[in-house]
Amino acid sequence: MRPLRFLSRVGFYLLVLLVFVYLVFPFYWAVVSSLKDPQELFATPVTYWPKHLRWQNYLDVFTMQPFGRNLLNSAVVAGTTTLLALLVGSFAAYALGRFRFFGKRPIYYAILAVTMFPQISVLGGMYVLIKTLGLYNTWWALIFSYMIFTLPFTVWVLTSFVREIPRELEEAAYVDGATPVQVLFLVLLPLMAPGLVTAGLLAFIGAWNEFLFALTFTVDDRARTVPVAIAFFSGASQYELPWAQIMAASVIVTVPLIVLVLIFQQRIIAGLTAGAVKG
């Protein structure tokens, strides 16, 4: 019995190790590749750790590519989108989570349905609208179009948080003569902080990672965001992709996300499972 148990324990840990390596290896490989010099990167057999670390690749991303500008674009677009979605979404979540009124159910369903929208189904109409409004190739084109997936999702997550807050505090505030807006901002929002962090984080990650709209509504580095830049990194010739730089840029944009995930993992998991949202 004893040796059998020992063996199954070893098997279990081997399996855990295997899964761990499977999950982490591609990121490890990006880090390793981002630190290799060109001779080593384009050599066979493949080496699993760089012979010398070439940090220069990380500088090249900023000097040989307009990556600083792309990062700025992404930060402004994702940040503004998130703040706007949280602000507007809080009001809607308060209404949906607390008030009883006729027509609530259809509205709730409509908002829920928009979260499942395929972005491609509005691409043509959105393109024409953005051109008409003169937003093409600007930050606003992206902030504007990103509302389609951040706002309904934010409303949905926040509504579930509003429902969990006890009514007594609000009622006391109303008795004291507070207006609904005051109640929302002074009583509810502080209590909703965990919900705001969760929804905000997921909205930010969604906007930061978005590709289809960014690809279609921008033409140059004035508004081009990080995902589009990384997809289009080009080298000296068409056949020589600057893989070390691509990997360095990939690591640069992924590290902040991993740090956020490490800090807020409980919240993210709670938000993902409560809302069961798309990844």
Partner: protein, 295 residues
């Protein structure tokens, strides 16, 4: 009387609070959707400004039904969806069961599970594209060392390998997410049930079959439907890894090519509308299957 006016006032406030969200969704979702549908009945060039749409009725749809490339993209999307969702569910369930056991470093494992999810799809597509490189790629190197292949394979150039290669990337990126959803489901199963089963002499397999699986069905269903909807609209991973290529192009990739690259606003919109209808069907299915509670 007082009660009625209170209800009325509540409704007024609620509508005022909902107004900004509704207005924004009307402008960014409902209107572009309607406009796309409308444009699908015209012939129009994306580059014309202002647009000069020419009414063609259902001609774009008639063409769509006969368009071999459209059907290829539908086929690719269906293969991508079925294979990736099945693999992700099975592997995700396996990983969830593994991580549900108590062991040291379990926290580290859960963190590792969030990494593929947090990496932007475009970035993971580029990472894997480099790993799949036929000469300098690590995938070939590893498989050669393990003697699983005899010579390097051109993963992204071989028409038979490229779709499986892309699916493998989606599986890598999404399985952990699936596992996290299922893990939450597993952890909501009361421990007492297992204890009772053990007292009755049920083995591990029986416990899994008669307790875990039936109680996991709701979580499994949610995860499954969400993944299906997501997979049906796949764009990023395919576009970045292979560009527009008949061996891999999904419905979304094909629609964007017609719409943007070829500037065919009318036909591109007809494809978009087709995709919308297909996915809407699944959304209705989802909403009825889950009967989401409002109150």
């Amino acid at each position: 009387m007082a009660r009625r006016s209170l209800t009325k006032r509540q409704a007024q406030i609620a509508w005022v609070f909902l107004a900004p969200t509704q207005l924004i969704l009307l402008v960014v979702a409902a209107y572009p959707l309607f406009r796309t549908f409308q444009l699908s009945l015209y012939r129009a060039n994306l580059l014309d400004y202002p647009l000069r749409p020419e009414w063609v009725g259902l001609a774009n749809y008639v063409y769509l039904i006969q368009d071999a490339y459209w059907w290829i993209s539908v086929k690719n999307t269906v293969i991508f969806t079925v294979v990736s969702v099945v693999l992700e569910t099975v592997l995700g369930l396996g990983i969830a069961l593994l991580v549900n056991a108590r062991f040291p470093l379990r926290g580290a494992m859960r963190t590792a599970m969030l990494i593929p999810w947090a990496i932007p799809t475009v970035v993971s597509a580029q990472m894997w594209r480099w790993m799949y490189n036929d000469v300098y790629g690590v995938v070939n190197d590893l498989l050669l060392r393990l003697h699983l292949i005899a010579r390097p394979l051109a993963w992204l150039a071989d028409p038979h390998l490229v779709l499986p290669a892309v699916i493998a990337v989606d599986v890598w990126k999404t399985t952990p997410f699936m596992a996290l959803l299922l893990l939450a489901g597993l952890q909501s199963i009361p421990e007492e049930l297992y204890e009772a089963a053990r007292v009755d002499g049920a083995g591990a397999l029986q416990q899994f079959w008669f307790i875990t699986l039936p109680l996991l069905v709701p979580a499994l269903l949610v995860a499954l439907i969400f993944r299906t909807l997501d997979a049906l609209r796949v764009f990023d991973v395919i576009y970045v890894m292979t560009g527009v290529n008949p061996s891999t192009m999904s419905m979304s990739v094909y629609a964007r090519q017609q719409l943007v690259d070829f500037g065919d606003l009318g036909y591109g919109s007809a494809i978009s509308t087709g995709i919308f209808l297909i996915i809407a069907l699944f959304v209705v299915l989802y909403l009825t299957a889950l009967r989401v509670e409002v109150d």
